[in-house]
Symmetry: D2
Subunit: 497 residues, 4 copies
Amino acid sequence: MALKTPQQYIESLKDGRVVFCNGERVKDVTKHPILKICRDWMAMDYILQLDSRYRDLITEKNEEGERVSFALMPQRSREDLTRLREIVKLWARVCLGKPPGAKFVAKDGLNAVTVVSQRIDRKYGTNYAEQVEGYRKHLQKNDLAFAMGLTDVKGDRSLRPSQQKAHQDYYIRIVDERKDGIIVRGAKTHISQAPLCNEILIAPCRAMREDDKAYALAFAVPVNSPGITMISAEPEVYEPDNLFDHPIAGSVYINDATIIFEDLFVPKERIFLKGEWEFAGQVAHMFANFHRLSAETYKAMELELFTGAAVLMAEYNGVEKVPHIREKLTWLVMFTEAVEILGRSACENCISEPDSDLVYPNPMYANICKFYFADNWHQATKYIQDIAGGIVATCPSSKDYLNPEIHDFLDKYLGGKEGIPTEHRLRMAKLIRDLTSSYEDVLTIHAEGSLEAQKLSIYALADFDRYKAAAKRAARIQDGTKHNIYSQLPDFPPTGL
Amino acid sequence: MALKTPQQYIESLKDGRVVFCNGERVKDVTKHPILKICRDWMAMDYILQLDSRYRDLITEKNEEGERVSFALMPQRSREDLTRLREIVKLWARVCLGKPPGAKFVAKDGLNAVTVVSQRIDRKYGTNYAEQVEGYRKHLQKNDLAFAMGLTDVKGDRSLRPSQQKAHQDYYIRIVDERKDGIIVRGAKTHISQAPLCNEILIAPCRAMREDDKAYALAFAVPVNSPGITMISAEPEVYEPDNLFDHPIAGSVYINDATIIFEDLFVPKERIFLKGEWEFAGQVAHMFANFHRLSAETYKAMELELFTGAAVLMAEYNGVEKVPHIREKLTWLVMFTEAVEILGRSACENCISEPDSDLVYPNPMYANICKFYFADNWHQATKYIQDIAGGIVATCPSSKDYLNPEIHDFLDKYLGGKEGIPTEHRLRMAKLIRDLTSSYEDVLTIHAEGSLEAQKLSIYALADFDRYKAAAKRAARIQDGTKHNIYSQLPDFPPTGL
Amino acid sequence: MALKTPQQYIESLKDGRVVFCNGERVKDVTKHPILKICRDWMAMDYILQLDSRYRDLITEKNEEGERVSFALMPQRSREDLTRLREIVKLWARVCLGKPPGAKFVAKDGLNAVTVVSQRIDRKYGTNYAEQVEGYRKHLQKNDLAFAMGLTDVKGDRSLRPSQQKAHQDYYIRIVDERKDGIIVRGAKTHISQAPLCNEILIAPCRAMREDDKAYALAFAVPVNSPGITMISAEPEVYEPDNLFDHPIAGSVYINDATIIFEDLFVPKERIFLKGEWEFAGQVAHMFANFHRLSAETYKAMELELFTGAAVLMAEYNGVEKVPHIREKLTWLVMFTEAVEILGRSACENCISEPDSDLVYPNPMYANICKFYFADNWHQATKYIQDIAGGIVATCPSSKDYLNPEIHDFLDKYLGGKEGIPTEHRLRMAKLIRDLTSSYEDVLTIHAEGSLEAQKLSIYALADFDRYKAAAKRAARIQDGTKHNIYSQLPDFPPTGL
Amino acid sequence: MALKTPQQYIESLKDGRVVFCNGERVKDVTKHPILKICRDWMAMDYILQLDSRYRDLITEKNEEGERVSFALMPQRSREDLTRLREIVKLWARVCLGKPPGAKFVAKDGLNAVTVVSQRIDRKYGTNYAEQVEGYRKHLQKNDLAFAMGLTDVKGDRSLRPSQQKAHQDYYIRIVDERKDGIIVRGAKTHISQAPLCNEILIAPCRAMREDDKAYALAFAVPVNSPGITMISAEPEVYEPDNLFDHPIAGSVYINDATIIFEDLFVPKERIFLKGEWEFAGQVAHMFANFHRLSAETYKAMELELFTGAAVLMAEYNGVEKVPHIREKLTWLVMFTEAVEILGRSACENCISEPDSDLVYPNPMYANICKFYFADNWHQATKYIQDIAGGIVATCPSSKDYLNPEIHDFLDKYLGGKEGIPTEHRLRMAKLIRDLTSSYEDVLTIHAEGSLEAQKLSIYALADFDRYKAAAKRAARIQDGTKHNIYSQLPDFPPTGL
């Protein structure tokens, strides 16, 4: 069977990869005190798929009869999408709101190149689709963890790739072509979990023009390929195993790394786009289409936890019945459930991609869901901080609490409502601090596309003709336009009564 | 066949009813220049159900094989609810966002007493359910327009019915009991369309205590019963047939009347609740449960029209590409579609009422939908007014525009973008004025329950145990509570790797 | 003495002016049932300045020893501005939040041309300043009511005056030049009170380029000049003297008219800008600078009234102690007082215009004040409507209330808290309807400049260097820039301790 | 002269005080790697007052002719307050938005007991005022750093001090009385800078009732008094001197400590309130009155820095001209300047406390300022994070950037707009992370009183009679009430014209 054990996954990471963290080259990523947090989080993917209670949900037999991760298979129906959504919910609930990333992000890139490669092949007679398929099999067969290398470092955001002035490598590009493959240079950033993956899938993050041709590139390589240097995001925590003070940041280190590609060789059979610049934007766009399911799913789980923390802290402080607190809790409930409704609707009203047999969530609904979540996040943090009180900022370290010299003092004085152990109140305060960190804020706004990206999508997807037809009918404007719904409705007010 | 023609409906209104409007007793409600607006709007219900294109959607054969309004039948499945939603959408689209009220509101009250009467009968051995059923047949057979008399005039809002000080009639109550029925006194307010209905169904608008017993009352009577005086809401328009200046208010006069009941006799067979005070709140609650489908459905249609007006006015002014305008249009699209998604989800995830065979929309989802709509409405009005410009406030009357002495001046000078007829721009400005009137604002906030009512429901419906379980697991708090989802998840971070 | 009595003011309006209202040519503007509302409101200016209690505040001796309206004199010090602010507050408080417009708006245009004419004269040797001064004397001597003709009808908002396509008259322009003056054509819109003024002062509403030269125009003429047609804004009310149902709209009809200028002759001595296109934007800009005092002043008075209505309605309904109501009232208090603080600060920190001896409010503060007011207005309307309840939308006409047939019913049933006369509750509901009309909304957003206009001003006025210096010092960035505050601060953290 | 050098201040801290930090007893607070951050920040107070450029601003001769900190003197005029405001602005600008706390907070407590002690003395013939005065002299003479011990640990927030159930020490209280003083027990929390102060001034944080008598306590003691244990807030940083990654948190450690008082002896002459329970709330209230000046002043300085970071990051990313970015920058400018205007107005319209010769900022204005700042803070963080991009969350450590092995890679790839050194962009990203931390959020909401506290104050201070009089006049309601402004205004509309 193709499924790896968590131990096998961990062993597979000892492969000479070049990783830096906190200013030092990491000898063994599986042993580094902080990277270990990321490792264990990723390992949950492997633990869960072997758990007899979840195996039938998370894994599936592929065409060759091998049991593989369902996430590595193409989703072809509303039922498939709904199932994938359940998997993501499970991942998210187990891992405190953050699905472990072994396949979580990059599967959507794989689907994107699956779709677009067929389009390119049709136009140019290339054989990208076959290569993508080969890569999918490779991933399935070896149950590989793979990262999605989407976002280039970008330089001046107002300029396209080929317009950049300081140098030409702000977007990843071909610098040389050989018989058996290509040499590429550039850097990708915010690449979640890459230092703890086996592979990385590279795709363009934006639409391009003809003079950006050298930047129209999609491919996949093992992360230990010569020429790859991975530099970890600065960790949020500086010591392992302190889950009291950092219940989230101490359990989940996403490690959105910056990855340098200096003269990396990519073998021919792993190239999925090379110079067909008019398809670059399509890959980025299709990635977003597929990836929205993820965002729309795990965020509701994150909010369960978030709203729960608010309710508990209100209870622990003895203020759960105070009107303004109830008002805020009500808002948090609404926020949580609305994200779930909007996300689920996106799946239930999925779109069949016409050039392939794949389905993805309704993009209008999914964009609304993501925007709604991200746009209201800071309001939610304001509310939970308001409910929790200053202790979120001023609580002593758990090491003080656990220090026998002063434990009894703190236990006596930092208690809240009678009957609630002081430790519970402190743990909840720490959880809320973690949940409202700058890191969480920025992740919420920028992961899975910025607020502006969602706005652009919503505008582009809007059925303005329907809206306009409704308004013209109301204003009694007849300008010769017709609409399939509005133009055939009976007169109103009726005449002749 | 039981279905009435619009003419038959209009004829049926000439029945001696006592109606006032703008300070005068109305001789014939079917001929009054302003009430006629309400009449024609109501008549659309009868027009549409006879229209061959819509008949199969809007009407259905009842148990006796008669074709009747589907709205007068009980909905028993998700498919029924979805169909009802389509009917309401059609009604709303035809009538500029406002479903005509022949059965629109009161059907939900009928369902409410259908459910609660069974509960009362079970407890007290009364025969209310049978009487409700009889009334339903009566409505079907005669295809009656009926109004929902829910909201009492209330007096001091901080006091319950029996606590009121100025007098005891702020909530409708029994003042005498006879062998063949009861005598009631009180007043209901905000009763949509009542002066143009055949019947009125009365139900309590709140929970009651034992000393409010005399106020625990539900019944139905024809609106021309002696003792009923209906006083129209002050009309928004003062002249009929001016659809240029008042495209909405000139077409739809909901006429939320104040209705006085002074010693009205109610015959025994039309009483559905009488003194069983512990059920009063249940009727109000069940009405809300059923009625949410309506609100959640027509508002999205209203927003189609609203957003269309914003887009068109932006185009007519030549500013549709200005970034801040696009931003606002995007927001309006999102608002429109989110209301549709939330409303539809409420239907698709409907609840089977356990004491009957009826279904109603998921109340958590429906409350979120209504709150989201109403809470954001004023933001929407700000945006559309910002886009449209001062002309919404300062536009001359259409009578000036149509006055040959100055028509050419106005036509020349009040034009916008080249190619757009000035008349279209003026009509759109007038439409936007109507859409953002104080009347529309207040309707949005208060119809179908106030913002606070939704908040209370959301809080009451919240699955706090799930949220708390998620937060405790994240904070590593073990306090002995168990949760069916969270307590059985695997450990995280994993141990022993 | 130069001050007119209200009767003299009214007499002065009978001068053959061409005014339309509601589709008809108005014979005598002083006798028209609706225009009379505007007339009486305007007359308050004349009543107040003759009132012995206010005369010393509102009027002042001019250089020739004549007592004239202080508003017609140039303000030259912080004390002058503060006094003007007190005058505007009085006007606004007397007239329910809306200062009567005899000089209220156009005085700011007069100041604008006072400033800019001096600049033009300096550059071109013209004698505009003297002509402006002559006009100021004329206004003072005759105590004239004058309107400000600023906003052109604009056509396609994305095009400048000379780029318009449908025709060339979307902005007022010179069409011919004669020895003794010029012939102009075009139209101005949203011109408050013009049909009830004596004079109109015309100025450009935007910056222009050289090819817009023919549109760079400022002048003044009597409103009865041949070639002027004034078309009233559609009135909010249709009957005079109904102050019960329309306490605001029945008292104040601003009548923001559309005014057509077809081949109007302007005599030489009343021209203040003619073709000096580079100064067109300066006039518009200086008008805004002066006019902000008005907006920043009367809006706080409007909010006193608004917030008072919310408090009273809460009390009348018996809900003033409900937590969510108190929360909303608190917000309204804050809104009211913040507008007052911001407006007053703008005056107290006024700017001395360097090219003249005039002062105007601090433009950064004044823009913030206006934006804050307008941006939050819809929130305020949501709150007051939420507090007041559905009666704002559904209340019967006062004619019903005053109809003896049903007065007692309504008096009995529409009462609120014990001890509050029902009439008071109904009057308050009607007041709130008026305060939250579409008209008030649009006026709030668009009068005195749109929200976007304020944003542009704030951005343009921002002291970005100060902000950037603060941030660079914090981030320890030394890029060679210096700042007078930040560059000389001591090191932090300190060294050597 | 009484002024200390920074070295003398530091020496004064070596006094045997009991301080814990991160789980360990701190031997010497002046040498601890993290507490040193707090020490140096505090020392800035002493550095600045000796700086010849600032001495005349910051220090003043007291009645005995000694030059002392102006902050330790009572402010008696608008000029004094304005000067104090300038001092706080300087402190804040020097120290990156956070005034060093040597006297910053507790001076306001000193003023509070100055006022209230006189009231108690008048009622009870006590001599508290004299003792306060003695303490003030002691502070001046020795130029002491003193902390304000206001907030009790509170336990169950829904219960008053004497109602607490788990134990009776959730609010500090007298447990024994001796001839020469009292023995107290309890704990205070969020006590800024206490571990680096010389003294602590204790006062009640809420109003009390008679049965809370034992908790009505105000006094002052040196922080090294036996019985005092100070437990530091968990530090935001774990290593000193890393100002690249933590430009704010590495420079300013406010250390809002939790302080345990177990059987502390307080000598008689340092007691300022003891059992006079009806004055407990007054002390808390007066502290807030005085302290608002601080909050209203430094926050605008903090925002200068904040907004500067947003502008610079926009420029570094090359997006400063993108419309939605400009919109957000405009909002930040407005936010910054509005906080300055509101804060300054509070000072300029100060209140003379009637029972003393002290002045404090206008409490309505000051509360509005604080609320406005805190209520909008999360919006501001959303905007700056949106502008800055994902790099705020994913940037590698500066140690990576400074590591020669990979420095050139990072320098090449993490650059933004041409011409901007990569280091500047990284430093700005780190600054923004620090500025938007959970710590900063919570500080903003809860320091100087929660949002709810401001709302309560605003409601309590509102001039509802004025608002109501305005609304009644508009609605033509005459109910017999009179108002000094509104009742004497002339009739409107005027009659008899």
